[in-house]
């Protein structure tokens, strides 16, 4: 009796410890199975050439660079605008399970896969770029908006005389309360959209990624560096020139500059929908015919053995290692953005620094530390993985590094900011001891919440890195598109969507079970 009582008393820490242990063990197991050999002959030489290129950026053609920049910006702004409108409408019905499922489905398919799909009917057009961003982003924004609407203070709504939850009721008592958070989150998503837009260039759309891929593949690192810096500059300076009041001007400008259009052959579209994406054994056959079904079973069985299973296996394997690596990196990086570790020397004298809580908020050390995190966050993981492949050769190592660095920096940044709210005793330790005894235990819950929130994103990215040649689901999807086997491509995309949705559900279950805060931030 006493023993079992004791065990339940001690559970708050041990539940977190156990779950962390399981994740670490699973990642170690995956590490045994995964291929992380460095296969390039001389990675240092490649790295040296890249560094030399990075230090001597040269613009090969200004018009190309500027149009790449403009296209990247235009796709992102158009896509997010459309996504915000659609997401808002969807969020109004977010209490309906069907709408929630629909949103989960559209956002579980990565924008690159959407782009590959639309390219088949709308070609490399501005419409393809717009839709590829708008559709998955609408699913994400609908979820965030919907959750924000559910979490607003219910008091104002309850105090209204007519308690029928109509639309005017919503516009007066719910929307104003959620508005600020919606705006903040949408602007964060816009930054993500610029990354997505740049990456769309890797499959052929005329954004920065297109030129980056060409320059990197040809080993023209100085030119690549110029495009790379242009992307960083675009994202880094957003705050300076993308003001709320100027937004309408920019919107008119991007729709004028790059009107969403495509020459769609209706014949082709009909064929694509009614024939190309239908599994080959079912085309033009009677569905409930025994022979058709057995053909389909054979087709699926073969596909399962050769593509679905290995693709799934590798995606989960790589995703799991990347998740744990992301977590470790986030914990290692968080001091860079924490006032507890990055503080001016004069305030370090023990016992005094805590009483100047606000004063130490802005200091140059932390400024530099956080800039590093923001820079790492700004780099799209797809691009990082591509560069990693050039250095280390084909293996899963570049993918792990890319996913870990990008996501670890995002979580590290947020965790660092979270440590601002910790109030420590005046006689608290400093340095490593402070980190392990005071900070880590206090932020661990939040850390797991962030990491689980990011899990689905990491897995979606893992799948997409397959396009670069790593044998995750994306690899098989890309090959199917290249060989015009759209039925297989679609099926594999649906498999990857199902995987993402299940992981998202599992992460949500874990967050609830461990009582982790589920309110999203800029994740």
């Amino acid at each position: 009796m006493a023993l079992s009582a004791n065990r339940s008393i001690a559970s708050s820490a041990s539940a977190l410890r156990n779950i962390s242990l399981w994740f670490a063990v699973s990642a170690l197991l995956c590490l045994v199975l995964v291929d992380i050999q460095i296969s390039s002959a001389d990675p240092w030489a490649e790295l040296a050439r890249m560094t030399a290129g990075a230090l001597s950026p040269s613009v090969w053609s200004w018009p190309t660079l500027l149009s790449g920049l403009a296209n990247t910006f235009a796709f992102a702004l158009q896509g997010v605008t459309l996504a915000a409108i659609a997401g808002f409408v969807l969020a109004l019905g977010y209490r309906f399970a069907l709408i929630r499922a629909f949103c989960a489905f559209v956002r579980s398919i990565h924008e690159l896969f959407w782009a590959l799909l639309f390219m088949q009917v709308a070609g490399l057009s501005s419409l393809t770029g717009l839709l590829a961003i708008a559709i998955p982003y609408a699913g994400t924004l609908a979820k965030i908006y919907g959750e924000l609407f559910e979490e607003v203070d219910p008091a104002p709504a309850n105090n209204l005389p007519h308690r029928e939850p109509g639309l005017s009721h919503f516009f007066y008592a719910v929307l104003p309360l959620a508005w600020r958070s919606m705006a903040t989150y949408t602007s964060y998503r816009f930054e993500c959209a610029i990354r997505s837009s740049a990456i769309l260039g890797f499959v052929g759309l005329p954004t920065l990624g297109f030129h980056l891929e060409t320059a990197l593949s040809d080993g023209h690192y100085s030119e690549a560096a110029a495009f790379f810096y242009a992307l960083l500059l675009l994202i880094g300076t957003l705050r300076l020139w993308l003001h709320k009041r100027l937004l309408p001007v920019y919107l008119v400008a991007v729709f004028y500059y790059l009107p969403p259009q495509a020459t769609i052959s209706w014949q082709l579209l009909v064929r694509f929908v009614s024939e190309d994406i239908v599994p080959a054994p079912l085309r033009g056959e009677a569905l409930w015919n025994g022979e058709t079904i057995s053909h389909f079973a054979q087709w699926f069985n073969l596909l399962w053995q050769q593509q679905i299973w290995p693709g799934l296996f590798n995606t989960v394997l790589l995703g799991q290692i990347s998740l744990v690596f992301t977590g470790l990196l986030a914990l290692a990086l968080l001091p860079l953005n924490s006032p507890l570790f990055m503080r001016p020397r004069r305030l370090i004298s023990r016992g005094r620094f805590m009483s100047h809580g606000r004063l130490m908020d802005r200091n140059w050390k932390r400024g530099i530390g956080d800039s590093i995190l923001i820079l790492l966050r700004t780099l799209p993981e797809y691009l990082l993985a591509f560069i990693g492949l050039l250095i280390f050769g084909p293996s899963m190592l570049p993918a792990i590094l890319a996913l870990g660095i990008h996501n670890g920096a995002i979580i590290g940044h947020l965790l660092g900011r979270y440590t601002e709210e910790l109030s420590l005793r005046a006689d608290a330790n400093s340095g490593v001891t402070l980190y392990f005894y005071e900070v880590l235990p206090r932020i661990y819950r939040q850390f797991l919440a962030f990491l689980f929130y990011r899990w689905e994103v990491i897995l979606r990215e893992t799948a997409i890195l397959g396009i670069l040649g790593i044998a995750t689901l994306g690899f098989y999807i890309d090959s199917a598109f290249e060989t015009f086997r759209f039925d297989i491509a679609l099926l594999l995309i649906l498999v990857s969507a199902a995987l993402n949705i299940s992981v998202d559900q599992f992460a949500r279950y874990l967050r609830q079970r461990l009582q982790l805060k589920t309110v999203p931030e800029s994740l």
């Binding site: 004791n6 008393i9 001690a10 559970s11 708050s12 820490a13 041990s14 977190l16 023990r350 016992g351 005094r352 009483s355 109030s423 420590l424 005793r425 005046a426 006689d427 608290a428 330790n429 490593v432 001891t433 392990f436 005894y437 005071e438 235990p441 206090r442 661990y444 819950r445």
Partner: protein
């Protein structure tokens, strides 16, 4: 103030000092000296400046006092054992501390366990702090001060969350383990029975400073509520 023929050396000393709390002046013109071996109780209503004075005392000798603040600053998911051990972090090497965080080491246990026993926490030693009652948390906080084995104890309402009987026992334990003790207390009877000197604070000034044997509970009642 102290007219004994050979005054022992002063541990803490203020000469006409103004003390601030979050940028606001709380105590004006404080002159005060506390000698080794004294057991001082700070008495006064809330906002009278007890915590401010304690903080100022601590800053005079940050490395020789065991500090027991009103907000105990316990780490929620760590166990009672770890929260007590945290007072002794500086006495051990970094690798030792980190190892002990992962798995409680025998050496650390042999220091912490007797303290936990004295505080009546042996049953909760490996429970996380957030599962403990307010009184148990407060005892843990005292444990963190005891483990430092320092000569001076500064406590801000160290027994406010435990019942009278336990409070008395804990205060006796604190006095027994420290040569010099300065406590902010709101219980006048406790202050008189445990401490040798009473300092009364009111409206940002020291209005009373006398040996407790010369005082009655009724002398101190005016420090609360009356004004």
């Amino acid at each position: 103030m102290n007219d004994s023929p050979t005054p022992p050396p002063a541990l803490f000393q203020f000469r006409q000092k103004s003390l601030q709390y979050e940028g606001r002046s709380v105590l004006d013109n404080v002159s005060l000296s506390i000698a080794a071996g004294e057991r001082v109780a700070l008495i006064g209503g809330s906002g009278a400046g007890k915590s401010t004075l304690l903080k100022a005392l601590r800053e005079q000798r940050p490395d020789t006092v065991a500090w027991c603040p009103q907000q105990p600053g316990l780490v929620p998911i760590l166990s009672t054992f770890h929260n007590i051990y945290m007072g002794a972090l500086e006495q051990h090497s970094l690798p030792y501390n980190l190892l002990n965080l992962i798995k409680p080491l025998a050496g650390a246990r042999s220091i912490v366990e007797p303290i936990a026993q004295q505080l009546g926490l042996e049953q909760q030693l490996f429970s996380s702090i957030d599962k403990l009652s307010g009184g148990q948390q407060q005892r843990t906080s005292i444990g963190r001060a005891l483990i430092q084995q320092r000569a001076i104890f500064l406590g801000d309402e160290p027994v406010a969350n435990v019942d009278e009987y336990q409070g008395e026992a804990l205060l006796k334990l604190i006095c027994q383990r420290h040569q010099t003790v300065v406590l902010a207390l709101h219980d006048i009877i406790q202050a008189l029975s445990v401490c040798t000197r009473i300092i009364g604070l009111q409206d940002g000034a020291i209005v009373l400073d006398a040996p407790s044997e010369q005082l009655q509970a009724s002398d101190l009642a005016g420090l609360y509520g009356a004004s």
